[in-house]
């Protein structure tokens, strides 16, 4: 079964890619790994006249440390990220989330830029990147800009990208000293599915065991991946007692805005947020991870 025909453009610079995307003749779509877009074309959900591929733009798949921050080129694949020594050593929460994306074959093609631009509510990397205070670098006609990831997701499958704009990289600052992070993914149908809920958390404890930093992010339980700001505020300065953990899990469940679908009902998702936030925080507290 063939795809609906399109013309494929393969620019060799970001400027040419922006120009190719901006042409006026029909609908153009940007393609990176194709794991989402090609499936959508196959299903008839989109029928672009032109695809603009980023594969020939040089160095877009780089993974490097710049001034202490991790910089992922938009074309870095989940497989590249989960295997990268630099990521595993300095940003293990991200490596863990990258490893949980779908299946090995999808991870080998799917890219971090594509994942974020697609604005999938149930993204695996997005909650980890939200906890790590990542920012997205975007290039478009005549300008470049940087968008904090927390403001990058605008709505259901909607990223804060203007027409003609392209995600070029993701920058992730160093994690707070002594912080431990984790990502748990709960699926209701099969292990390689999208998460019914995904929970990322990062905590740093001071000398007497109080949270000097507490960050919680949720995927799959709101129109976009979100940070649970209220739960985080409640945890900062507190010790991770069973009661504090339960309160944070309760607060997070109150901050999500889940939908019902074939994977599970809204109330089940909310309950699973409560369960998995609690379990993850206890795991991080007890160091059993």
């Amino acid at each position: 079964m063939r795809l609906h025909p399109f013309r494929l453009l393969e620019p060799e610079s970001m400027k040419d890619a922006i120009d190719a995307l901006g042409g006026l003749d029909g609908e153009a779509r940007l393609v990176a790994g194709g794991t989402a877009l090609v499936a959508m074309i196959r299903l008839g959900l989109v029928k672009p006249d032109r695809l603009v591929s980023l594969h020939r733009v040089p160095a877009l798949n780089r993974i490097a440390v710049e001034a202490g921050s991790l910089v992922l080129g938009a074309m870095a694949t989940h497989a590249d990220i989960e295997r990268s020594r630099v990521v595993r050593d300095g940003w293990p929460l991200l490596a863990e989330a990258a490893h949980r994306v779908a299946t090995p074959a999808i991870r080998a093609s799917g890219t971090i830029g594509g994942n974020l631009a697609y604005a999938e509510a149930a993204s695996d990397p997005a909650p980890a990147l939200l906890c790590l205070d990542a920012e997205v670098r975007v290039a478009g006609p005549g300008r470049e800009r940087v968008v904090p990831l927390a403001r990058f997701f605008r709505g259901f499958y909607e990223a804060a990208l203007e027409p003609g704009e392209i995600v070029t990289a993701v920058r992730i600052p160093p994690a707070p000293a002594g912080a431990r992070g984790g990502y748990v993914k709960y699926t209701s149908r099969s292990a390689e599915d999208k998460p019914l809920v995904g929970v990322a958390a990062l905590v740093a404890l001071d000398a007497v065991g109080r949270c000097s930093e507490a960050r919680i992010a949720i995927g799959g339980a709101a129109p976009t991946p979100i940070r649970a700001a209220g739960a985080e505020r409640a945890l900062r300065g507190e010790a991770l007692t069973d009661a504090a953990v339960r309160a944070a899990a309760e607060a997070t469940a109150g901050e999500v805005d889940p939908l019902s679908d074939l994977m599970g009902s809204a109330s089940y998702r909310r309950e699973m947020v409560r369960v998995w936030v609690r379990r993850l925080l206890i795991t991080l507290r007890d160091g059993t991870k």
């Binding site: 079964m1 399109f6 074959a105 080998a108």
Partner: protein
């Protein structure tokens, strides 16, 4: 468009329409029927082939995106008339029933063994998590992969 890449150990240069996937290229462009069309959406895994040693979904990857890469399909597992140890293990253990998923499963397993020559059962199951088999129940498939490189 013109494409050049390495296919099963040999250089390959061919023409392909812009909208072809790797699966279209293999089956319809090059007549290699070992790679199967299943769901067409990247879910079932039966079209899995190797690109630079990693598994990819031939139904989702555009043909243009394998330019200059090294592809291996099930036809390329055999070398000089000798079956790959995986093929022998699958045959000896009866790790196939209808066989439709088998090419994709063998290539997903090959990718694992290239990176991790002695995987645990958990690692084998994880590596094959994207390849659906509706006949076998997976037991003999996992045993076959473990027989090639695994530790118990």
């Amino acid at each position: 468009m013109m494409l050049a890449f390495t296919l099963n150990g040999r250089p390959c240069a061919t023409e392909a329409p812009d909208h072809w996937t790797v699966l279209d290229l293999l089956r319809d462009g090059l007549g290699l029927m070992g790679t199967k069309y299943g769901c067409g959406e990247g879910v079932c895994g039966t079209c899995t082939v190797l690109a630079d040693g990693r598994p990819i979904r031939a139904c989702l990857v555009l043909a243009a995106h394998v330019r200059d890469r090294v592809l291996v399909t099930v036809e390329g597992l055999e070398r000089d008339g000798r079956l790959d140890p995986l093929q022998i293990a699958f045959a000896e253990r009866g790790a196939a029933q209808c066989g439709y998923c088998t090419p994709g499963i063998m290539l997903a397993a090959k990718a694992l063994l290239l990176e991790n020559p002695a995987p645990t059962e958990h690692e084998v199951r994880e590596a094959l998590s994207g390849n659906l088999c509706r006949c076998t129940g997976y037991t003999k498939i996992v045993e076959a992969v473990l027989a090639v490189g695994g530790r118990r």
